[in-house]
């Protein structure tokens, strides 16, 4: 099994496009596979919470956003976050994506502070919204061992 097709984890295409770089997946794929394998990110997570996170994250962009917020608070070192960090690292190594990441989004301190507040509030809302689906999915994963 390779890292790209690990069920029910989000695909590389989904992760790159959710991060705002929809066209990069084809050129990142080979490195993603190789590095995921080398750093042990392709195994099926043994913890039901991580499998639930993966399942939530594979429900398209909204699911990934919820799972990302949940993982940032409760599974900072978990496999989903590790895979997202790998994708981020590959994006910054990519010349085109890297140049975009090197530019600021706001035009000065006031805009940046405003954006910071929006991001913080957005994170809290996503985190709150992630708890009910995660409670259901985690319960189901631990009851069925993920074989449902």
């Amino acid at each position: 099994m390779n890292a790209e097709h690990l069920p029910p984890a989000p695909s590389l295409d989904m992760m790159t496009s959710w991060l705002g770089f929809p066209d990069t997946a084809p050129r990142l794929r080979e490195a993603y596979e190789r590095l995921a394998r080398a750093r042990g990110l392709e195994a099926r997570p043994p913890r039901s919470l991580d499998r639930a996170l993966d399942r939530l994250a594979s429900w398209g962009r909204p699911g990934l956003a919820l799972a990302d917020a949940f993982a940032a608070r409760f599974r900072k070192r978990g496999p989903l976050r590790r895979r997202l960090i790998l994708v981020l690292a590959l994006l910054e190594a990519d010349p085109d994506a890297g140049e975009v990441l090197d530019t600021p989004l706001s035009r000065g301190p006031a805009g940046a502070v405003f954006r910071g507040v929006i991001e913080a509030v957005g994170h809290v809302l996503l985190l709150l919204a992630s708890i009910p689906p995660m409670a259901v999915l985690a319960g189901w994963e631990s009851a069925t061992g993920g074989r449902g």
Partner: protein, 535 residues
């Protein structure tokens, strides 16, 4: 071997400075070195963004074939992954085994040693800091100037000149980036208050970076690739000094050799070196006249301990290192302003704080964040990764890192020893922090945060990271200079007592360790030992 040849073990910053000094005095030098070769960076005309674009496989170059520079959340709190191209600098050596407690040792068996990866900070000790050395500070003064004119040190005549007396006439400083310029402007406004209330002075970093062409090495043109390897040779590394040695008559370089031990007569006459080719082959014995150990503090200790195993010496006390704390900070005035990938990447500012209350001086290096990989920092922000990435893009040009260094002193509890572990002679590195560290560290860090506030920056307390001992790689103190004599100490000429013709010229020699980066002092000391041996 030719009569009159001085054998130097190691091609690091120390060994090369020593060799250049000896060669200048017409002496013959044989340098023995494990000496794995580091590949020199190419494309001396490409700044970081263009260079990244030129790479055949950017992911492999920047993150490594197996993702060794990918920093995942279980990392050790460092804020950057080390570039894969520099991995060879820290690669271990088969048969060189060590265990460590309280210490994370870093050794190099590369041509040029650890300083092939250094950040170039070159800070001379003051006469007071040289007090424990059994010779006049003036002797070091001359050596500091000689080294500076050999490698090129840039800096400015500013407030730091009071605390960093050498070089007296540095090359002009590297061009400051916008964030550094802002911090300097704030310092100008707060200068008197900082002096009075915080006993702090700040100025341009003293760097082994050329700002004017010098032979093969070219001036810094702000390519922003320092971390990946400067392709212009602007940032001095010992392999450039080694190349200069190789141009001189009387110099022989033998890489691929591990010096195992020395063999001496009962009268302290070193007669032979026992050598092991690192790529296989039979051990060799080399007849010698004069030997200088410059293999780096830990590897030199290994050679000495192996040599003395038969006479009951199994431990060298007094190991020192600078405790370092990384303090990330934000300059709110630079939020949303972007960063300059095309600028010198390491620290451009340095500051010195006298904490008072009997505590020793603190030395801190200020780096504004540039082209290092960003994923280690993004993941440390306390929100989801996508939001953190957006936030980081606005933060990037406002971020900086202060690397705070604390002084150390020789104590018997910290030592290097040779132990038999499972039938293998193994180096044990044991470190115990000074008893007052628990109070001095927080007090010093509070002071650093106050200084940053006056510079218009803010340092979240929770993000400060106390690096493990060993991480600063400023190892020293195990075969120290001593005016009082005593076996396994050095006399003023760097000769290891009780031997007649064995010298030591690396960090082992330092009798005390101020909070400053030590390599400039190591080079100056080695240069001085070379002068005494050569004259």
């Amino acid at each position: 071997m030719t009569v009159g040849t001085v054998v130097i073990v190691g091609s690091g910053a120390s060994g090369v400075a020593l060799a250049l000094s000896l060669l200048e005095r017409g002496r013959k030098v044989l340098m023995l070195d494990v000496g794995r070769e580091v590949v020199r960076a190419d494309h001396p005309d490409l700044a970081f963004p263009a260079w990244r674009r030129s790479l055949a496989d950017p992911a492999e170059t920047l993150l490594g074939r197996s993702g060794e520079a990918l920093v995942l959340p279980d990392h050790d709190g460092e804020y950057y992954g080390f570039p894969p191209a520099k991995k060879i600098i820290f690669e271990g050596l088969e048969g060189f085994d060590w265990v460590a407690d309280g210490f994370a040792p870093l050794l190099s068996f590369a041509r040029g040693g650890l300083a092939e990866a250094w950040t170039g900070g070159s800070y001379a000790f003051t006469p007071e800091e040289l007090e424990g050395f059994p010779f006049p500070a003036d002797e070091m003064g001359e050596a500091y100037e000689a080294v500076a004119s050999e490698i090129g040190i840039s800096g400015a005549e500013d407030d730091l000149s009071e605390v960093f007396p050498h070089p007296a006439h540095p090359l002009p400083p590297v061009e400051a980036d916008a964030h550094t310029t802002r911090l300097l402007a704030r310092y100008d406004l707060a200068r008197e208050t900082l002096r009075r209330k915080e006993s702090c002075v700040l100025g341009r970093a003293r760097l082994a970076v050329l700002t004017r062409d010098r032979g093969e090495r070219k001036a810094c043109t702000r390519l922003g690739r320092c971390l990946w390897g400067c392709p212009r040779g602007a940032l001095y590394t010992p392999s450039w000094g080694l190349a200069r040695c190789q141009e001189r008559d009387g110099f022989t370089y033998r890489p691929g050799i591990r010096v195992l031990r020395i063999e001496a007569t009962d009268g302290g006459d070193v007669r032979r070196l026992h050598l092991r080719p690192v790529d296989g082959g039979a051990d060799e014995v080399l007849e010698v006249e004069t030997v200088v150990l410059a293999a780096g503090t830990l590897a030199t200790a290994d050679i000495v301990l192996r040599s003395l195993a038969g006479v009951g010496v199994d431990r060298l006390p007094g190991l020192m290192d600078n405790r370092q704390v990384l303090v990330p900070f934000v300059s709110p005035g630079r939020l949303g302003k972007g960063f300059e990938p095309e600028s010198y990447q390491y620290h451009q500012l340095a500051m010195v704080i006298e904490p008072g209350g009997g505590a020793r001086q603190i030395h801190a290096l200020i780096t504004t964040l540039k082209t290092a990989m960003i994923h280690p920092v993004v993941q440390s922000l306390p929100i989801g990764l996508k939001g953190a990435l957006r936030l980081f893009r606005d933060l990037h040009g406002a971020l900086g890192l202060v690397n705070v260094n604390f002084a150390d002193e020789r104590r018997d509890e910290s030592f290097v020893a040779l132990e038999d572990l499972g039938g293998t002679a193994t180096l044990r590195v044991h470190y115990e922090p000074p008893p007052l560290e628990r109070t001095r560290l927080p007090a010093g860090l509070r002071r650093v945060r106050r200084v940053l506030r006056r510079l218009g920056a803010f340092a979240p307390r929770s993000m400060a990271h106390v690096r493990p001992m060993g991480a600063s790689v400023h190892y020293a103190g195990t075969l120290p200079y001593s005016a009082n004599g005593g076996d396994l100490t050095l006399d003023a000429a760097g000769r290891l007592r009780p031997f007649r013709n064995l010298y030591v010229a690396d960090g082992s020699a330092l009798p005390s360790l101020p909070s400053k980066n030590l390599t400039y002092t190591l080079m100056a000391n080695a240069w001085r030992v070379g002068r005494l041996l050569g004259d």
